[in-house]
Symmetry: C2
Subunit: 284 residues, 2 copies
């Protein structure tokens, strides 16, 4: 199954049989005070800087989230999308819980865009899916609904199915839906990651679609979070995840290694190319 | 399935439903000039040092290999085993291709020992399995035979079956056999690791036994080998590997994280304990 996004001249292909796709997570002010302050001031230099660094570090797609309390996110997401579309030839992932912000940003994206996200809540399905259809976008479907996040894989699978079915009714093919099985911190519940890994396997087996991973929640509250995140990334990729919203500066080499180990990097070309460009500062 | 080893007062449990077991690889002069020179001189201080460091870093079992060209390995393995048995309360893994060295070392091991290794070659089966039976040891079974290492998972599975059947004829239960599906470098053949991962899954499904991983071969010839080794460890553990002959100083925290993510570390106790004792020098 392939899901394609485009920018002015480039594309990003989410291919269930291909290499892993990296969606750069850093243009998101949640927990990033410096970015939140810059966005409040309307200073987009820091956004430009984050975009540049992430693309250089291997981001295939850039996530765009401008949610700062007290700021008009509709106007701001338009400004940021315009900047990114003008200066960076990379597909975008519009990350907003506000359908009005999505509706304002989708028409000014130069190519085929990923909407982040819809979920199984009635309110979300009825507001977001029509926008996805109207603009021919792809969409991330989160496995949560009006009752929250199910604590078992079967419950999450059922929500994935509901999203895929509701999308189909509007004529959105399953191939354009990337399911995100959600992950909670393993520090609070030791079964948290197993449920996510099992959901990944079941979604891939039942629906065959691409699967996204919000990889860094899993380590929240633990020390040496990168160690946990890296282990989780490899296991999730082996289980069937095909993309992640993650930090390319930290994890791209590791992801290239994982692709190589899955037989998806002929002659280790991508691994070696990335290594030469960005050798790790210090090996273990 | 559980395979138990013992030392004077402690045990190491290889449990297919339990945490991953670390066999410290460093008492092996292959590629370690300093150790080879020390063994040639009959200076065992460095062996003691390597044993101490590995146990401190989380080794559950110590591999013991004294193969230096031109040295009488029968006498030497006895000396080294005696030292380790006297000074370290940790089960041993006797690593020698020489049945005479195994036969000399097994009787002086204080507990239940792991023999590394038997393989599908007729010569190996007929020389090693009787020793395993005689001393009530456990044994690592390598999936290679007189024709070399099969390049597909089915071929390796067939050799695993042959080893298990031949052992059964001598009264050695399958639970005391740890299958090692072998891994070649992914730098030379991009399918190398996929074949190994598939073999791990098949061995676990067909025979249910413990599975060992010689994890570091996979990255031979590549830069940033630790990045590749760590990714491979996580994937192999997810596929069903239950122990590895590896470097505890480098990989234990990562292995603890993997156990945590598989739901095999209640309240992250083992991960946190190891982190506090050995925080990584530098996080990514």
């Amino acid at each position: 199954v392939k899901t394609e996004l485009t920018s002015k001249t480039k594309k990003a292909v989410f291919d269930t049989e291909g290499p892993f796709v990296i969606i750069g997570e850093k243009i998101n002010p949640t927990g990033r005070k410096k970015l939140a302050a810059a966005l409040k001031e309307g200073n987009l230099d820091y956004v430009r800087d984050l975009a540049e660094k992430q693309v250089d570090a291997g981001a295939d797609v850039l996530d765009v989230n401008v949610g700062v309390p007290g700021i008009d996110d509709v106007a701001l997401i338009q400004q940021v999308v315009k900047l990114l579309a003008d200066e960076f030839d990379v597909p975008l992932c519009l990350d907003s819980p506000n359908p009005a912000a999505l509706a304002a940003a989708l028409p000014i994206c130069p190519g085929r865009t990923l909407v982040n996200s819809v979920n199984g809540e009635e309110k979300s399905l009825s507001a977001v899916l029509p926008l996805v259809k109207e603009y021919g976008a792809a969409v991330i479907g989160l496995t949560m609904d009006d009752n929250g996040i199910p604590n078992d894989a079967e419950g999450r699978l059922a929500i994935a199915e509901k999203i895929i079915e509701r999308a189909a009714k509007l004529g959105i093919p399953a191939d354009d839906i990337i399911i995100d099985p959600l992950v909670l911190t393993v520090g609070a519940d030791q079964k948290a990651s197993s449920v996510t890994l099992q959901t990944i396997e079941m979604v891939r087996r039942e629906f065959g679609v691409n699967v996204n991973l919000g990889a860094s929640n899993v380590s929240f509250g633990l020390p040496a979070r990168d160690v946990v995140n890296i282990a989780f990334l490899s296991m999730a990729i082996y289980a069937g995840a095909t993309c992640a919203i993650t930090d390319p500066m930290k994890y791209t080499l590791h992801i290239r290694a994982t692709d190589l180990l899955r037989g998806r990097d002929t002659n280790a070309m991508r691994y070696l190319k990335y290594y030469r460009k960005h050798p790790p500062e210090k090996e273990i």
